[in-house]
């Protein structure tokens, strides 16, 4: 008779895999992707496919060069590529997008050890990198329906006068994935219902921005909704502040992370020299994540605090 397997318990698994999680998040981004193609035309699709492709190629090549186990198929590089594309203006030259993908995958992620080891969100960091080095191209926003060589127009956060319904449906200027609030909300709620992301970080992030803007504007609901719908808040809150690797592991930690992001976003938007603060706030909180984790460890059931002499 053939030999039986001896393996440690448990002998069954839930069946969720890293790859499935990545694919679900990509699926949740699809409504926003469709909206961006609808508003900005086929070049939006080209940019997204291009970024996904370049990111996956970077991941594959990097693992090859480093002689590490191949991880191109785990979906994380594809997700990073799509998220980065969501953070780019539709007019961005492809070579600049490729530089962003390289920076995200190679510098931010693989150089720190690959999936699970990077301290900062690759897509967010690449966006900030591009924003600082190629500022004029990165801020070359056009209105939906305009020709790609049209003169750059201000985003709603700068102009401050877009109708709320336009912000909700996404018919305003901005990056690919951040304009259509409806699609982002749909995707975010979908991920929460699937149990893929915890509501802790997005809700505390959005809630904090809402409370801060309400207080600052003296109770103006319009101003609050404007702050929530304009800019990259929803994209950041649902898809970047929930990145497992770079955010705290406990729900308590995630709430602190979300509140921190909310406060920083509000401060940068209101008092900073940049009109948008979502990406900076997430990056800054990414850096604080190990400390948040350290102070939000769980309290095990029945744990007894060590005696003083034991601690010494």
């Amino acid at each position: 008779m053939k030999l039986l397997t001896i393996a440690p318990s448990p002998h069954i698994r839930e069946g969720m895999t890293t790859r499935k999680i990545m694919l679900w998040v990509i699926a949740a981004l699809l409504p926003a992707a469709v909206a961006s193609v609808y508003h900005f035309g086929w070049r939006a699709l080209l940019l997204m496919v291009f970024c996904v492709g370049v990111s996956m190629a970077c991941e594959g090549l990097c693992r090859l060069v480093m002689k590490r186990e191949q991880t191109i198929g785990d979906g994380s590089a594809a997700l990073t590529g799509l998220l980065l594309a969501m953070n780019l203006p539709v007019t961005l030259p492809l070579w600049e997008a490729a530089v962003g993908c390289f920076f995200a995958i190679v510098v931010v992620k693989q150089m720190f050890g690959g999936l699970g080891q990077n301290f900062a969100n690759p897509a967010i960091t690449a966006r900030i990198f591009l924003m600082m080095s190629l500022t004029s191209d990165m801020t070359n926003w056009i209105q939906p329906g305009e020709a790609y060589d049209a003169v750059s127009s201000a985003t709603p956060l700068v102009s401050g006068d877009a109708p709320l319904m336009d912000l909700f449906w996404g018919s305003t200027g901005g990056c690919l994935g951040e304009t259509c609030a409806a699609a982002l909300l749909f995707g975010g709620v979908f991920l929460m219902c699937m149990g893929i992301i915890s509501p802790a970080a997005p809700l505390s992030f959005i809630g904090t921005v809402a409370v801060c803007s309400l207080l600052y504007s003296g109770g103006s609901v319009y101003e609050m909704l404007y702050q929530l719908l304009a800019g990259g808040l929803l994209l950041g809150a649902f898809f970047m502040a929930t990145d497992y690797v770079t955010t705290p592991v406990t729900n308590k930690g995630r709430v602190i992370f979300g509140i921190g992001c909310g406060v920083l976003t509000f401060l940068i938007r209101t008092f900073g020299s940049y009109p948008e603060g979502v990406s900076f706030s997430i990056l800054l909180m990414n850096i604080l994540t190990p400390y948040i984790d350290k102070f939000t460890t769980t309290k095990p059931l029945g744990a007894v605090k060590p005696q003083k002499e034991d601690a010494a």
Binding site: S9, G302, A303
Partner: protein, 428 residues
């Protein structure tokens, strides 16, 4: 009071409706001298000696032990060295059956007058906890302090297993009598029976049997794994937390498995020691999932043949449930006192273990609120201080963390190895 975390598992209780069937007396039984937690017994029989059912064949002077009795009548044909699956080597006695199942002539209904004589009677019955680790019952029922609560563990939260469920359905009055016997002798005022809600029939039968006894309550529990873990059960029924390094008795609670209670009561009414075990046989590869009662020491092969197991595709043979059960190396291993189920499973599809993505699912699943990610990292760097700080010792190896991990990391296994590492002195 908040509900502790855990995981929702498929119940797969196909055998809930299958009554216990006594298995045909096997030709031979192999009785290891360690069928309990504690010191192994020494054989008290000689080669070629004739034995009868219920006759003592192994004992031990140490208090932390439980006697072993012949489960078939016949002749001792071998006394061998034996290596249990997951345990220390010990002796084992092989008895070739004469097929008559003649009971030991000197068996008599045990009599007792006080707690001491009650425990002494239990000591020679071979009684052990039948739900898990096999703690000798006379140790469990000898707490130091006052006990306020007797908790009966009838959660049976692992998939497939219905041995406790069947016992409740078939022997409700025995169980109730056993509960009252223990409450009387140990002077315990209250009893609660915790049953998962996926066993409504057993719950109703027990409720009817309890007949509005004001001191015996039935507590329906959410069918979430690991509801039947001792500390989880205590917390969900009484709200009490057993502190690290303490026993349930230290917070005034004794938890007993429902089948153990049924055995105890039968012993005190018939005098027959622990010789038979009720077992669920299931796991996908048996054509006839069933509940059987088999003499302890029966080769598992006999049971699998009875249940029409597909030996061809057998990949994993598990003693116990799929979450905490143990792999057996061969179907020739004998039935033990703690074996509540035998599962015949096909070989699992190999899965790659990938990097931790810090998703926190293991933390959200851990009933003890531990951080399996941190424990794994601490073990990888062999850091005994960190393992202690993250409360490795509170881990009961329920396996929830491994079950949910999307990266397929062997978190529970790591904790198990870490415990061995700490036991060995924690030196790198």
């Amino acid at each position: 009071m908040r509900r502790l975390h855990g995981v929702s598992l498929p119940h797969a209780k196909q055998t809930a409706g299958s009554a216990f069937v006594p298995l045909a007396v096997p030709e031979k039984v192999l009785l290891p001298m360690s069928l309990h937690m504690g010191v192994p017994c020494t054989p008290t029989v000689k080669l070629k000696q004739e034995v009868t059912v219920g006759e003592r064949i192994g004992t031990c002077d140490a208090p932390f032990s439980a006697d072993i009795h012949a489960s078939v009548s016949g002749v001792v044909t071998a006394i061998t060295d034996y290596r249990p699956a997951g345990g220390k080597p010990c002796k084992a006695v092989e008895i070739t059956s004469d097929g008559k199942q003649t009971p030991f002539p000197d068996l008599k209904v045990p009599e007792y007058s006080d707690r001491e004589s009650f425990l002494a009677a239990l000591r020679v019955s071979g009684a052990v906890g039948m739900g898990g680790a096999g703690l000798p019952t006379h140790i469990k029922l000898a707490p130091k302090g006052k006990i306020d609560y007797l908790l009966i563990n009838a959660a049976e939260c692992e998939p497939y297993i219905t041995a406790d469920d069947r016992t409740m359905k078939e022997k409700p009055l025995t169980i109730l009598a056993g509960i009252r016997r223990i409450m009387a002798i140990l002077d315990i005022p209250e009893c609660a029976i915790g049953v998962e809600k996926n066993k409504p029939d057993a719950m109703k039968i027990l409720r009817d049997a309890a007949d509005k006894d004001p001191h015996i309550t039935l507590v329906p529990l959410a069918p979430v794994y690991p509801q039947g873990a001792e500390k989880v059960l205590i917390y969900h029924i009484t709200g009490k937390v057993v502190p690290e390094g303490k026993l349930p008795a230290d917070v005034g609670v004794i938890v007993m498995n429902v089948s153990s209670i049924a055995f105890l009561e039968e012993y005190f009414t018939t005098g027959m020691p622990f010789v038979n075990r009720g077992i669920t046989v299931d796991g996908g590869l048996v054509k006839k999932p069933c509940s059987v009662v088999a003499p302890v020491g029966t080769p598992i092969r006999n049971i699998l043949e009875y249940a029409e197991c597909d030996f061809e595709h057998l990949g994993r043979l598990i003693s116990g449930g799929p979450m905490m059960g143990m792999c057996l190396p061969s179907p020739d291993y004998p039935v033990t006192k703690t074996m509540n189920a035998i599962l015949a499973l096909p070989e699992a599809k190999p899965r790659r273990t990938t990097a931790c993505i810090r998703c926190g699912r293991c933390i959200g699943a851990c009933p003890m609120k531990l951080m399996p990610t941190e424990l794994e990292k601490a073990y990888q760097r062999r850091d005994a201080a960190a393992l202690d700080a993250y409360k490795l010792q509170l881990c009961m190896l329920c396996g929830c963390c491994s079950y949910v991990c999307p990266a397929n990391r062997p978190l529970a296994e790591s904790n198990s190895l870490a415990k061995a590492f700490v036991r060995g002195g924690g030196k790198k």
